[in-house]
């Protein structure tokens, strides 16, 4: 049976993991997978990432998450790194994701053209 102390332990350890500070993974990849995201094709991106992770053993966490509220940019993928660095990629598909895996995850630089900030047509 869980008590308050254990609840707080879970909180502290998970928070460290979510901030990518526990040293086991280098990137935490969140895919917007509400009904809206899935409708826009997030499932294909998710399946692709899971497969890539299995095949190439990337030290990443691939997780579904809820809707961020930006319907016109779905499917969205957020890459979280240590030191609170967030990068939001928009309108993703498996092909673009492959580039991101290579450039961002392996080589470590951001693909500005695919980000929310970089999107020219972004309102």
């Amino acid at each position: 049976m869980l008590d308050v102390k254990q609840l707080n332990t879970i909180k502290a350890t998970t928070l460290q993991k979510m901030r990518v500070e526990d040293g086991q993974i280098t990137h935490r990849i969140l895919i917007g997978m509400g009904t809206c995201g899935i409708a826009a094709g997030a499932q294909a991106v998710y399946d692709f990432l899971i497969e890539m992770k299995d095949v190439y053993q990337y030290p990443i966490d691939v997780l579904p998450t809820g809707c961020l509220g930006m319907c016109m940019f779905e499917p969205m993928v957020e890459v979280v790194e240590a030191n609170d660095k967030h990068t939001m990629y928009i309108k993703m598909d498996p092909l673009k994701m492959k580039e991101i895996l290579h450039h961002h995850i392996k080589e470590g630089y951001t693909l500005y053209a695919y980000t929310l900030q970089g999107a020219k047509d972004n309102a």
């Binding site: 879970i10 998970t14 509400g34 997780l63 809820g66 809707c67 509220g69």
Partner: protein, 593 residues
């Protein structure tokens, strides 16, 4: 297309507003206002206004009106930086703030309280929710507060039901708490049926544990041990995530008997709604959970006194519940700092329709509708003219251009003849015919009327038939009078809230857009070119190049002429007004009116 962004930081002293006016005026004068987006932020500790230009990242401080004019003309128009003024002693923290604003510009003017975890955590993992403070409010309530303390906190916060009516949540809970009964129930109403609304779905999909926690707190406050979540079967993802959340919470001892070893029991069950709009009404919802046909019952007795299986029951909307843990954790005073005195807090809206940035937004109450549409939504698509905004779903009404300065709030919107509703906001532009919009909503209501009371069952059907006549060009002035009278009858004699608000789509559009109804009835014209029966297609002989493309596209062979010799003409008797010819004509020779 927007190419540049200016973030303007203003202090709170009054004369700084002039800078913003000068900026807007200069932009307009130089015709830059459709290429440059201005974001205005208030910083209370700022002495002199400052601004940042993105994506170049050029900053200016100590701006005044003259500099602003120069800036627009030199920097923005000719792309030459104003070197003598640039980045004087702008401190690093301010620059970081500008960067943050630019990064978050979708969230510009948004305050995310309810949606704070959506898109940040994995909703299928309870540990991530716990890491983001889930269940901390429950711990606080169970360890350091009595049920009455919880009730007082909610009452003082002034939280009002987010499902539509705006009833004070604290009062509802207090009534249920005061009933003497050993069995009470907590129900979460996730039967979101309004066309164009998806706030509850996103919340359940993004942060299901917030709802579970809030239901437990509600259970503790009123003395209930059992809760139901009534969710639509059309939301399979939300249902799946809720099931996972409940299962995980039960497994680690956050649901069930003796929660967290603090001697509190609570269990939650999911009930699936089969998708009837009326089941969002609380008495119908209770009937549906009991296994009966989902039809409303007269109130009183209110559910807080006699609800599910005759026991005291509180029914709260998903969004209302999602506010509860935050209020308990941070206190009612914090909650009161947001929004207006009569409607504190934030509200989630589903922004849709003919708007550039559609999506789910959460804003503080008291923001003007203009800011929602033009700052967050970025205005209408294809630079069309804004005509009206439909809020509150089929029970709500339209808000016109004149009323856009109104602040968001429960009472303010009701004064305009609309309502907050669950939070769907559908923007309509000049291409929408208001008669057709009313017809669409009424069609929805006729289909969803449960049929228990006559005014709603038959009255709305007759009203729809009359509206159809207007769109078919068979309307008369007497018919409009008849419709208005019928609408009043439905309003006054229906049984439940849904029936009483059923004629609102007609009443509201008729009130605000009477001239458009008159055009349909008197001149038999539809200016938005939506009502097909009132349209007329003609080929302008002087523009026609006699190519014959339109004749080939016409599905009913209504267009005749000879290629290369005679201009083509349309036979109005054969024309079905499909518009195929307009799309094929390369020379805009076909006129639609």
């Amino acid at each position: 297309m927007l190419e540049q962004r200016i973030h303007l930081a203003l202090g709170s002293s009054s004369n700084q507003e002039a800078v913003l006016h000068q900026l807007n005026a200069s932009l307009k004068k130089n015709r830059l206002d459709d290429r440059i987006q201005v974001y205005c932020h208030t910083l209370h500790d700022l002495q002199k206004p400052a601004c940042g230009i993105y994506p170049e990242r050029i900053f200016y401080e100590n701006i005044n009106e003259n500099l602003m004019r120069l800036l627009v003309e030199v920097q923005l128009l000719n792309k030459t930086p104003l070197e003598q003024f640039q980045q004087l002693k702008l401190d690093q923290s301010l620059i970081e703030r500008f960067d943050q604003w630019d990064k978050d510009r979708f969230f510009y003017k948004q305050t995310r309280i309810v949606l704070k975890n959506a898109g940040k955590i994995n909703p299928e993992d309870i540990q991530e929710a716990i890491a983001m403070d889930a269940y901390q409010a429950l711990v606080k309530a169970l360890t350091s507060m009595t049920p009455q303390d919880v009730l007082d906190e909610i009452t003082l916060s002034g939280l009002r039901g987010r499902g539509g009516g705006g009833f004070p949540t604290g009062r509802k809970w207090q009534v249920a708490h005061d009933q003497i009964n050993d069995v009470k129930y907590v129900i979460c109403n996730a039967d979101e049926g309004d066309p164009g609304a998806f706030m509850d779905r996103s919340l359940l999909e993004g942060d299901p544990h917030a709802i579970l926690e809030a239901m437990m707190i509600a259970g503790y406050a009123i003395g209930s041990k059992h809760g139901y979540i009534y969710v639509r079967a059309e939301y399979p993802v939300a249902v799946k995530r809720l099931e996972i959340a409940i299962h995980q919470a039960e497994n680690i001892g956050l649901l069930g008997n003796n929660i967290l070893n603090l001697g509190f029991d609570f269990s939650i069950e999911i009930r699936l709604g089969a998708g009837a709009f009326v089941c969002g009404e609380e008495t119908a919802l209770i009937a549906s959970i009991e296994g009966q046909r989902g039809t409303p019952n007269p109130k009183p007795p209110y559910p807080s006194v006699q609800g599910l299986w005759g026991k005291p029951t509180i029914i709260n909307n998903v969004e209302t519940l999602a506010n509860i843990p935050q209020i308990l954790l941070k206190g009612h005073k914090w909650f009161r700092t947001m929004g207006t005195p009569s409607s504190p807090g934030t509200k989630v809206f589903a922004l849709g329709g003919k708007i550039k940035q559609t999506g789910l937004i959460e804003v503080e109450m008291g923001l003007s509708l203009k800011e929602v549409i033009y700052d967050i939504g970025q205005g209408c698509e294809h630079n069309k003219k804004f005509k009206a905004m439909q809020t509150g779903g089929p029970s709500g009404g339209c808000i016109t251009r004149e009323d856009l300065d109104t602040a968001l709030g429960f009472d303010e919107l009701i004064q305009l003849g609309s309502m907050m509703g669950s939070g769907g906001m559908i923007v309509l532009d000049e291409d929408n015919c208001m008669v057709d919009v009313a017809r669409f909503y009424l069609d929805f209501i006729v289909e969803e009327s449960c049929g228990k009371c006559t005014p709603c069952r038959i009255g709305t059907k007759r009203l729809l038939e009359m509206l159809n006549k207007v769109t078919q060009g068979e309307g008369t002035l007497e018919l409009l009078d008849e419709m208005e009278a019928l609408a009043q009858y439905i309003k006054t004699s229906s049984l439940c809230g849904l029936g009483q608000t059923a004629p609102n789509p007609f009443l509201s559009t008729y009130h605000h857009f009477k001239d458009e109804y008159m055009r349909h009835v008197v001149d038999k014209k539809c200016d938005a070119k939506v009502c097909k029966a009132l349209l007329e297609y003609t080929i302008q002989a002087d523009l026609c190049k006699k190519c014959g493309l339109c004749a080939r596209a016409c599905p009913t062979y209504a267009i005749s002429g000879t290629v290369g010799r005679d201009p083509f003409t349309i036979d109005p008797n054969l024309c079905i007004r499909c518009g195929a010819c307009v799309l094929t004509c390369k020379f805009d020779a076909i006129k639609r009116q």
